[in-house]
Symmetry: C2
C-alpha cells in the first residue's frame, strides 16, 4: 500500500471534489465527480449501490480518484488503487459527507455504498 502525505490527505479532508474513474463492462473508463474524504490514509467516497459506479466496482475494484484544490486545478493528487465496498446502513456515511459539503443531511440516503480506496500509486501535481 502506498502512503499519502499529510498535505495530500488534506486535499481529501477539505471541501474539494474529486473525479472518480471506474471501468465499464468492456473495460473502458467512466468518470464522474463525487464528494470525497479520507479515513486512516484511505480516500473514501459514497455511491449508489446499483448505479454504474457501484456495479463497475463490484465487477472490477480498480479505480482512480483525482482530487484538486477547489478553484485551482494546478494543484491535485491522483490516487490509483483498489476499493473495498461496504453497505452504508441507514445512510449515515452519506449524511456525514453531505454535512461536510452542504451543512445538511442528504436528501435521499438510501441504498448506498461506502467506497474505501487502498492506494497502489500516488501522483502529486503542484504547479504553484
Amino acid at each position: 500500500m502506498a502512503q499519502l502525505t499529510e498535505d495530500q490527505l488534506d486535499l481529501f479532508r477539505a471541501k474539494n471534489c474529486a473525479v472518480v474513474t471506474t471501468l465499464g463492462p468492456d473495460g473502458s473508463p467512466q468518470a464522474t465527480i463525487v464528494w470525497v474524504d479520507e479515513e486512516d490514509g484511505h480516500p473514501v467516497f459514497n455511491t449508489t449501490n446499483w448505479r454504474a459506479k457501484g456495479g463497475n466496482l463490484r465487477r472490477d475494484p480498480r479505480v482512480s480518484v483525482l482530487v484538486w484544490e477547489d478553484g485551482n486545478p494546478y494543484r491535485y493528487v491522483e490516487v490509483e488503487g483498489d476499493v473495498e465496498l461496504e453497505e452504508d446502513v441507514g445512510g449515515e456515511h452519506m449524511h456525514r459527507m453531505s454535512r461536510k459539503y452542504t451543512g445538511k443531511d442528504f436528501h435521499t440516503p438510501v441504498d448506498r455504498l461506502i467506497v474505501r480506496v487502498t492506494p497502489r500509486r500516488v501522483y502529486d501535481y503542484d504547479d504553484d
Copy 2:
C-alpha cells in the same frame, strides 16, 4: 458518434480544465488534469508523445474526458470515446493551447501529440 450540444462544447471552449483518464498496460485507469478545447465537435487536448498518456493511448485508444466549470464542479460534462493521435509538428497546437490558458507561448513545445476524441457517450451533469 455522439453529438455534443453547443452548451457542452462551450465548457470545452472556455478556460476550463479537464480530467483525462487513459488505461495503463494492465487496463487500470490513470487520470491527469489537462488543458482542453474543441474542434468540429471533438474534445481535443495535447500531451507529450512519450509520457504515460501518449503510450497508453497508442496501446488503447479508449479515453474519458471530464470537463467542469472552473470553480463549480457541480456543472460538468464527461465524454467517453476513442482518440485519434497526430504529431504536433513544431508544437504549434501546444502553443495555441498555452495562449488560450496563459496568454503566452508554451515553454517547451517539443515532442508532443494532438489528441482528438470521437465521442461515443456523453454524460451531462448540472446541479444548479
